[in-house]
């Protein structure tokens, strides 16, 4: 246990350095992306004087390295600047939207792990029988259908045809008043105000996007688990477990143990992917999440939004990977000792 702790600390020490690298990368974007932010803000027809003033306000007339240091100092104080177009602080916007996205991403990842592990195990264990063939088809289908398409089909069937779920217009019913603003994070504010009806509405609205995303993600878990279980079933380890007379469910559990690391790895990787990939599903469901917002920022060339999004999601991915490394080490005695 002691060695796991030291290992965790060592990995944690790397985080600030990685964050520094990400901040640097996101700053360099400024130099790489064509166009003049000043033009974006005041428009193409502004006179030279106005443009120069805006540039000076943004600090764009300073030497490159000076801009870099100013940017790093600001990021270190959690100041990600303001949107060029709306003027709202980026950090505040992210703080309010990221939790909304997590309301979709985390449950869909959990669903994907459970569904994927069950389907993958069945597929690997019965790979030669009809169950194996069916799961194989299911996995390919789930991988081939993009989540937004599944989302549209689900909306058509379950919202407009049988009216089982609310119309996909954000997190709340249109007639519902949002909870009193304390943190700015709607689910959290609802919880603080004890408004269970609001929480219920959020849940009802979240189910379809979670299913659409979760099924897609589940296919990846199912695939890796199926491969691991298929391989494990042919190992001398499983043969010896059977030869010792272990019940079949325990034999399967032995085989599943080998899949544990790859499931954890996929969870961390897909979490990182979903932070931006959730954008399309958010658009389909009008979900006020971070992905749709960042996509909008990218399309409009709103640089502080793009940079802020990169720094925050990059930081989250790094933390997810550190947690992953530590978990893997803690679970595997060969790394732990």
């Amino acid at each position: 246990m002691r060695s796991t702790l030291t290992y965790a600390l060592k990995r944690l020490l790397l985080v600030p350095f990685m964050l520094f690298l990400i901040a640097t990368l996101s700053f360099l974007l400024l130099a790489l992306i064509p166009g003049d932010p000043a033009v974006l803000i005041v428009g193409e027809f502004a006179d030279q004087e106005t443009l120069a003033r805006v540039r000076a306000d943004l600090g764009l007339d300073r030497p490159f390295w000076e801009q870099y240091l100013t940017y790093l100092a600001a990021v270190a104080q959690a100041d990600l600047g303001q949107s060029y177009l709306t003027g709202t602080p980026v950090m505040e916007e992210i703080g309010q939207r990221l939790p909304n996205s997590l309301v979709i991403i985390i449950p869909s990842l959990l669903m994907a792990v459970v569904v994927g592990t069950v389907v993958g195990t069945a597929g690997g264990y019965f790979r030669r029988g009809p169950v194996g063939k069916v799961t194989s088809v299911l996995i390919s289908a789930a991988q081939g259908v993009p989540p937004f398409f599944l989302a549209i089909v689900l909306i058509y069937l379950l919202v407009f045809t049988i009216r089982m779920f609310p119309v996909p217009t954000g997190m709340l019913y249109s007639s519902m008043r949002p909870p009193p603003e304390v943190t700015g994070v709607v689910p959290l504010d609802a919880l603080l105000a004890g408004q269970w009806s609001v929480l219920g509405a959020i849940t009802a609205h979240a189910i379809l996007p979670v299913i659409a995303t979760g099924l897609f993600l589940a296919s990846y878990f199912a695939k890796t688990v199926r491969t691991s279980v298929t391989q494990a079933m042919a190992t001398p380890q499983v043969e010896f477990a059977r030869a010792c007379g272990l019940p079949e469910r325990q034999v399967v559990r032995y085989a599943l143990l080998t899949a544990r690391t790859s499931v954890l790895t996929y969870t961390a990787v897909l979490f990182g992917v979903m932070l931006s990939a959730t954008a399309v599903v958010e658009v389909v469901f009008s979900w006020p999440g971070i992905g749709a917002w960042a996509l909008d920022g990218v399309l409009k060339g709103d640089l502080p939004i793009i940079q802020g999004f990169i720094v925050v999601t990059g930081g989250l991915v790094i933390i997810a990977y550190v947690v992953l490394d530590v978990l893997v080490a803690a679970l595997d005695p060969r790394i732990r000792h």
């Binding site: 030669r128 079933m233 042919a234 190992t235 001398p236 380890q237 043969e239 010896f240 477990a241 059977r242 030869a243 010792c244 007379g245 272990l246 019940p247 079949e248 325990q250 032995y254 143990l257 080998t258 544990r260 679970l331 595997d332 005695p333 060969r334 000792h337």
Partner: protein
């Protein structure tokens, strides 16, 4: 009290489905292992000796398939038992020792946890009782600090120690019969002897029996009471170690014994290769390589025939050769 535990195998057939066709790995092998017997099954790689062992324990994995034959243990037919019935016998009345201890042991679970699973598979026991049973089993296989081994993991053990742990697990329920698949191939030469001494010691102690698959004739000579020689999925000769090693009747056995390197002597390999196991020959499978082959060998397969005193051989030309070979060797 567990019953006698005689193993009787009759006309066992195992095949493997491959893209090239059906590989006939075991083609009608039969033998008996009586209590107290240590039967060595020998033959070159691919002769079906491991496939035979797996089929007996019901461990044949797809694409392998048992096409026919009977396996009877202690008066019960194992082939028709199904997974559940077989499970109650495996690990309890029949112990299985595999080739590589690190392959067999679970790398993620502690040794104690694995012992507990194996013990609880066949009897009710508390965690504490399981630990006591496991400690005793580890002491019985000559492990000096069993507590430390029990609390540790497979990767912390040396090869010899790990194989002792495997043996302790396989024999924790005192099985009457032990099936061993090349139990020392993965180990250092210096450790091989200790492990074999240990296994055969366990057998001799309580009149158990063992089937050991090996390609090492030295191991057979030293540790087995009987020997079964296999070639291309068939038994070609069977008898006591003394009979088969002193007066081998089948030309393949003779070639196999002649191929054992001797100090100072030249190394004599076997000529030719195994027959095609997909288009299996209708005659004697060894006819291609056999110096004594005649027309009858190519046309009809020689049956396994008794040659007195529990020895059998499958060769058209066997009977007349006994005296000649013995004379030539002495």
């Amino acid at each position: 009290m567990k019953a006698s535990g005689e193993l009787k195998v009759e006309d066992l057939r195992v095949s493997f489905q491959t893209a090239q066709g059906t590989v006939r790995a075991v083609n009608g092998v039969g033998f008996v292992v009586k209590p107290g017997d240590v039967l060595g099954v020998v033959g070159e790689s691919g002769c079906g000796k491991s496939a035979t062992l797996r089929a007996i324990a019901g461990l044949t994995q797809p694409p392998g398939h048992i096409d026919g034959g009977r396996v009877e243990f202690d008066g019960r037919e194992l082939t028709g038992l199904g997974r559940g019935g077989l499970r109650r016998i495996l690990g309890n009345e029949i112990g299985f020792i595999s080739q590589s201890p690190f392959g067999a042991l679970n790398p993620i679970l502690s040794i104690e946890r694995q012992f507990r699973n194996v013990i609880k598979a066949h009897r009710r026991a508390s965690a504490r009782e399981c630990r006591e049973i496991a400690l005793k089993a580890l002491r019985d296989v000559g492990i000096a600090g069993p507590e430390r081994v029990l609390d540790g993991y497979a990767h912390q053990l040396s090869g010899g120690m790990a194989q002792r742990v495997v043996i302790a697990m396989a024999t924790v329920h005192n099985p009457q019969l032990i099936l061993a698949d090349e139990p020392t191939t993965a180990l250092d030469v210096t450790v091989q002897r200790q492990i074999l001494d240990l296994i055969t010691g366990l057998i001799a102690e309580s009149n158990r029996s063992m089937l050991i698959v090996t390609h090492d004739l030295g191991v057979v000579a030293q540790y087995c009471t009987r020997v079964l020689v296999m070639y291309a999925g068939q038994a070609v000769e069977e008898g006591t170690v003394d009979q088969v090693f002193r007066t081998p009747q089948h030309p393949y056995t003779q070639a196999l014994l002649a191929a054992v390197p001797k100090v100072g002597g030249e190394i004599r390999g076997l000529q030719g290769g195994l027959p095609d196991l997909i288009n299996y020959p209708s005659g004697c499978p060894y006819a291609d390589r056999c110096p004594k082959a005649t027309e009858v060998c190519v046309e009809t397969r020689p049956p396994m025939v008794r040659a007195g005193q529990g020895r059998r051989t499958a060769c058209h030309h066997a009977a007349g050769e006994v005296a000649g070979y013995a004379a030539a060797r002495s």
